[in-house]
């Protein structure tokens, strides 16, 4: 179907093989028939008088056990025989992360479009506009699961370490990289802010390692969603430090209406996520030109006008 905005849609089917097979069998194209399917099954359970509550309870206990075993069991429990399993499990995606990703996808009804590149396992820095707490989870959930397991978010230390729940979510569930937010005004001297900045870049480069990717919101804080704010310089320095890593712009649309800053209850409207063409620093390009170009590459991916 041609879009009136002149972009050819390209769907990325990221669902698991089972749902995929169902879709191929004609059961349903996307989320809405899945929803009907699930609720139909639920209605059937109700009608057949199956013991729903015990079943749900067992499933929940099972999940809690799984989370504990895979992510919190002491290392000492891992004997030589099980150590490989333990290691492979702790490297995998946390079940709560998968759950949150599924919830976020459901609430945001996100439609993903790879407009400038394809999903790839190579190391990348995804950078996007920031207007909602859902931003990271939605972007992360839009990646195929192999890539997801190696993609980490950057979290602001002052906010995400403030309460135990936030800390657990960022540290254990999403394996976030914690960073101190520094504003140049607060530092005592320009040398100090320079030093801290350099330290942060090193930390991010370290987090990238040999195979990880990062998700970065270079605006530094959540905006109103009307336009993309100016970018902080971290993206530029990180790109200089790791020229081998691809910089992929992404635009998250409408999430500011689904869960705006300051609200904690979402409204389930539909949203769009567009990945753009990877960016590179031109030789002898200065910081401000590059950051402006990066900002432009993100905001040009907008598909609906200022909705």
């Amino acid at each position: 179907m041609p879009s009136i905005y002149g972009l050819k849609p390209k769907f990325q089917d990221l669902r698991r093989p089972v749902t995929h097979a169902l879709a191929n069998a004609g059961v349903g194209p996307r989320g809405k028939s899945d929803l009907a399917f699930v609720s139909g099954a639920f209605g059937l359970l109700l009608r057949l008088n199956l013991p729903i509550v015990p079943v749900v309870r067992y499933v929940l206990w099972f999940m809690v056990g799984l989370v504990f075993l895979t992510h919190h069991a002491p290392r000492a429990w891992c004997t030589r025989r099980t150590s490989r399993v333990c290691r492979s499990m702790s490297n995998s995606i946390h079940p709560i992360a998968s759950l949150l990703a599924a919830v976020a996808r459901g609430i945001s009804g996100v439609q993903v479009q790879w407009a400038g590149c394809e999903p790839d396992e190579r190391q990348r820095i995804y950078f996007a506009n920031h207007s909602s707490h859902l931003d990271f989870v939605v972007l992360w959930s839009a990646l195929p699961s192999e890539i997801r397991a190696k993609t980490r978010p950057i979290a602001a230390k002052d906010y995400w370490e403030a309460t135990p729940v936030r800390r657990y979510l960022t540290q254990n569930v999403f394996h976030a990289v914690f960073l101190e937010r520094v504003s140049p005004n607060k530092a005592k001297s320009s040398e100090e802010s320079h030093f801290i900045g350099r330290h942060l870049i090193e930390e991010m480069a370290h987090a990238l390692g040999a195979e990880n990717s990062l998700i970065l919101f270079p605006e530094g804080t959540r905006g109103t969603g009307e336009k993309v704010g100016p970018f902080r310089s971290g993206l530029y320095h990180l790109a200089l430090r790791r020229p081998d890593v691809e910089l992929v712009p992404a635009y998250l649309e409408n999430l500011n209406r689904i869960l705006p800053k300051g609200e904690f209850l979402p409204v389930p409207m539909l949203s769009l996520l567009t990945f753009g063409k990877p960016l590179q620093i031109e030789p002898e390009e200065d910081k401000d030109t590059f950051l402006e170009r990066a900002r432009e590459s993100v905001s040009s991916l907008r598909r609906i006008g200022s909705a």
Binding site: S3, I4, G31, A36, G43, E263, M269
Partner: protein, 317 residues
């Protein structure tokens, strides 16, 4: 459960639907093979996509009807949810509407369907037009944003009236106690949906075949007098021919289906006007692959409440 399967007339009705789908699939295939490299290719692809969508919709609808009242309520609840989601996504709202929207989605909408399910007729009839419409403006005002206040309040009221209130009258048909028609209410719902959707399809087909004179070209270039008359007459004829599944006599059935067709046309017209106002062609176009529900059910939203009240007034003592 599953009493629907033992209703012979319902099975015949469904057999008819399947037969129609088979015929149209066949026609679609033939057209596709005849016009391989043609200008009409896009129209034919569009037709085939519609037919595929019809297969899926009929399957889901059949499953819901077989499961029973709960199934239909859940199905229409989901349709309402998806339609309102589309509507609210495309209608401009502001930050101050956030909590009101949350209430509309997660409190008012489920409550409406719950009330339909528990057959509390009076409350379900006033729930949205009285209670919700009084609740919405102050809850927006309390957020403190006065810009376009009246517009925003009306947009939310209209959306919830059309997508939730009107549509909830379709499953409410299942709860009417018509003497001599007990246990067959699923047929009435199916009758409404078939006549309404066939009227849409036939208007489209007649319009494509012989349409010339536009009705309101500013609103919708696809709506022509020829398509309207042809579609309404043929869908009314179909509805009349289906009188044996309803509690109506053939003449009453003709009147009912005529009313469904004309109201359905009005629904489509109103939704087209809204789309022009927002500046989009179809609700489904902007959110590709996730939209288009509202384009399909706009006519049902306008036909269902009046059909419900007519049946209730004349056939329920």
């Amino acid at each position: 459960m599953l009493e629907a399967i033992h209703d012979a007339k319902l099975v015949w009705l469904y057999g008819g639907v399947l037969f129609l789908l088979l015929i149209s699939t066949l026609i679609g295939r033939i057209l596709k093979s005849r016009h391989r490299a043609d200008a009409s290719r896009t129209t034919i692809d569009n037709l085939n996509a519609r037919i595929r969508a019809w297969w899926k919709m009929s399957a889901i609808f059949a499953a819901a009807v077989v499961i029973g009242h709960v199934g239909s309520l859940i199905l229409f609840g989901i349709i309402s949810f998806l339609a309102m989601r589309e509507y609210m996504t495309l209608v401009p709202t502001r930050r101050g509407d956030h909590r009101t929207l949350f209430w509309s989605f997660f409190v008012i909408m489920p409550l409406q369907y719950y009330l339909v399910g528990m057959q509390w007729y009076i409350l379900f009839a006033i729930m949205i037009p009285v209670l919700a419409c009084i609740f919405i403006p102050p809850s927006i005002a309390i957020a403190g944003d006065t810009e376009h206040f009246l517009e925003r309040a009306s947009k939310i009221q209209f959306g919830i009236m059309v997508c939730v209130y009107s549509l909830s009258h379709a499953p409410a048909l299942l709860l009417l106690k018509i003497p001599g028609f007990e246990g067959h209410d699923a047929r009435l719902l199916l009758y409404l949906v078939i006549v309404d959707q066939m009227s849409d399809v036939l208007q489209y087909v007649w319009g494509k075949l012989i349409g010339k004179h536009k009705i309101a070209w500013r609103v919708s270039p696809n709506k022509t007098w020829e398509g309207f008359v042809g579609g309404v007459v043929s869908a009314t004829a179909l509805g009349t021919a289906l009188w044996w599944v309803t509690p109506f006599t053939p003449l009453q059935s003709a009147g009912m289906s005529l009313m469904i067709c004309i109201l359905g046309f009005n629904g489509g017209l109103v939704m087209s006007a809204i789309k022009r106002d927002i500046g989009i062609k179809d609700f489904g176009v902007v959110i590709e692959g996730r939209g288009g529900i509202l384009d399909r059910i706009d006519s049902l939203c306008f036909a269902a409440p009046i059909f419900f009240h007519l049946v209730r007034y004349y056939f329920v003592p």
